[in-house]
Assembly symmetry: C2
Homo-oligomer: 228 residues x 2
């Protein structure tokens, strides 16, 4: 039987590298992108489209759950909440979108049942990331168990999170090894044109490229010394 996967592809660096891993491991790729009313929706969708052109998946699906913007509770979706500049924090940051990844998994499960895919690849990162509860490995294990009980596909469906225990630096290095097009990816939480360079997501990305000793091909709104 052909190994078939759905890859959740936001268009960020983590999902890009996850897609690169899936491309090596699977016979068939199906790319799923989810707009959720985030401020950088337009730019992330453009990244997704470019990565579709790059990877040539068997199928692609773009869905919309922008009711998450209406529900609110996150600076990524609420126009009244500003995306803050990076700082060391404890606890769950304001950029957390309530249970967003639960929705991503549910959409992938429905699609997997219909196209008979046996694997869902998802680029969650647990430690070296923002402290989102829906990025924990234990959550995906529990969801896999729930899917086995609550879907037609039963226990035939696996959730694969290949970079969940990697550092951002390791993720960049892996992407470079796989010769992936980081210039098509988008990580900034704030802007749709030029990456801000100061939000959590930009700072983690810039730091990872610097540690890997490589210049990020994306332009930034601030000056960055890539050699320091």
């Amino acid at each position: 039987m052909k190994n078939s996967a759905i890859v959740l592809l936001s268009g960020g660096m983590d999902s890009l590298v996850t897609a690169g891993i899936a491309a090596n491991e699977m016979d068939e790729l199906n790319f799923l992108h989810v707009n959720y009313g985030q401020k950088t929706e337009v730019r992330e969708l453009r990244s997704f489209r470019r990565l579709v052109e790059y990877f040539h998946p068997q199928r692609q699906l773009v869905t919309d759950i922008s009711y998450l913007k209406e529900i609110g509770g996150s600076s990524l979706t609420d126009p009244a909440m500003e995306v803050e500049d990076y700082q060391e924090r404890s606890g769950i940051p304001a950029t957390y979108v309530p249970f967003r990844n639960g929705h991503l998994v549910a959409i992938a499960v429905s699609w997997a049942e219909v196209i008979e895919a046996q694997n869902i690849y998802l680029g969650a990162v647990e430690e070296d990331s923002s402290g989102y509860p829906d990025c924990r490995e234990s959550f995906y294990q529990a969801m896999e168990n729930a899917i086995a009980l609550g879907s037609k596909t039963g226990s035939n469906l696996k959730i694969i999170t290949p970079i969940i225990h990697k550092s951002k630096e390791e993720i960049i290095r892996l992407g470079l090894q796989l010769d992936l097009p980081f210039q098509f990816s988008w990580s900034c939480y704030k802007n749709n044109d030029i990456a801000c360079g100061v939000c959590d997501s930009c700072v983690l990305r810039i730091r990872a490229f610097r540690k890997a000793g490589v210049k990020d091909p994306l332009p930034y709104a601030i000056d960055i010394d890539w050699n320091s």
Copy 2:
């Protein structure tokens, strides 16, 4: 602390009775309706609106996941698949919408986190129903576990399925005891105007009213002897 609940309310008889139970048990109700591209979307939404007027919940939210229609795989959403007349079957019927209830739970969890509700009421029925995997109690227990691990609210959120082990007759009797307005509910899978009386959902409903010795206040497209 106030006991606050989100009630998943499709507008069918099961969710109506579930809402009636929640109204007795909780201090605050919040009604959630989800359009998923089903053929009776318009009529179900109308039922929801009428039940909002009846129950006066604190908040109401209507969301759209009509990408489930695009994903397909169900006679409730696919225009090319007819909703079949009732017959005794084994296995999962064609009306099963792949992992639909997983989406309903995810939406409720996101909303619960923001409005700080501690309970999600859901009118799933396990035995005396259509054999949908996402109506099993074990699925909701597993989802509760996944939510505890993957959300901000953690283990403070309970999924309550008060009628999951009841027969359709018991559900009707309970609704009658609670004096609930069955005339505002809608169960038919097929029609938006007059209930067909022959789809799975109509047949189970009609049979339950007859067993309870009561005439269903809804009109049907076929003649029904309520006294036999």
